[in-house]
Symmetry: C2
Amino acid sequence: MTSDKIVTACLLIIGSEILSGRTQDANLAFIAKGLNEVGVRLREVRVIPDVAETIIAAVNETRAKFDYVFTTGGIGPTHDDITSECIARAFGVRWALNEEARRRLAAGYANPADLNEARLRMAHVPEGAVLIDNPVSRAPGFRIGNVFIMAGVPRIMQAMFDGIKHGLAGGAPVLSRTVTSGLPEGVLAEGLGKLQERYPDFDIGSYPYYRRGGYGTSLVARGTDAERLAAIVEALFALIRELGGEPYEGDPPA
Amino acid sequence: MTSDKIVTACLLIIGSEILSGRTQDANLAFIAKGLNEVGVRLREVRVIPDVAETIIAAVNETRAKFDYVFTTGGIGPTHDDITSECIARAFGVRWALNEEARRRLAAGYANPADLNEARLRMAHVPEGAVLIDNPVSRAPGFRIGNVFIMAGVPRIMQAMFDGIKHGLAGGAPVLSRTVTSGLPEGVLAEGLGKLQERYPDFDIGSYPYYRRGGYGTSLVARGTDAERLAAIVEALFALIRELGGEPYEGDPPA
């Protein structure tokens, strides 16, 4: 059973390396698709630097505004890894050693001395936080309130997210279907606008593409009702044919 | 000559297709690197949906907070292209046909009837806006106040951005150098933290990597003073050698 409530989420990508252009974010699309599956709508993403005041303000603003907040990045052992402490400050709780986290970290080092002071920082979490398992490199993420703190390294983030995804209380999964043709957006626009008016509970998006093989437009309908979605796809086929195009379902060839 | 003032920017990526995970953003890194070159610091990126109230609120919040705001997406001819109207509402000015924009658009159509009502929307801009040239597909972007409105299609956005970049009043260009070694972050952390304390005017970031060929950490120093940057690179080499690693300048092999 699914509910009609719309459940929303925000993703905070914490990392100066993304803002400098050095690193291309690889987490947004993965999280967005995973949230679709469990019926949670990603409504905003912010990329912010490793600056304490900025992180604290963003966490407090967004956790009040969205059902769920996810963060990636800034939970390693170095001086620029300040996410975890900032979350504690945002929630107004102590940032303290978590014995279970320490145990998990320690299990990764043959020599106990290797669990040095810097690495022990990764075993500190805000008081009251629940650990998120890290099957890749042990140092856990955590959840506190409606905020989920995850690693920035994609392989680790993905393992963490897959572990928590099915515990989220989402609404109906978001379904989407794509219809493509070689017609330009400007020709489709009028009919498309009318179709959107007829289906206000759906998002109908229009995405032009330019490829070596030619150009055209992909039309994407997104919503929760499969039958109404099928009717929209049928209407898109009819619209494209009426305008002299050749519709097909799916994205254009790469 | 460069000034010491720090000039900041925010990028608003407008497009539900990014938030749904359908489309991977390809504009952030390009704009970030371009801004580095002209001494403007990208301090925040937000990805927001094609929802009028959200766009208007984000534009008004960020244009007050940063020196420059750039937007990508939502300036095409279809019903979901609402960025331009929203900018007019954010600035409290009329959204009106711009004769020069209409002329540029019209030049692209052999048959005047092809410049239909939907396409004419792309010739409307907020009153007082200055057009940004679009050498790829004619429909212009525009600037109003400290806000620059650009297309979302990467090829078009890049052409628009290259046209305006050198008109921005930036500070000193941001320089960066990278030193990599096979040492893990947890071993480097202590020395790195001390180095950061000695150079508070620099950002020293630590980025672990995991590749088929092994793992390690890249250390990236970013700031405006080339001589101090060289001293940091020297200190990073010394630190890594002291810890038993083999430093080299640059990113790890892909």
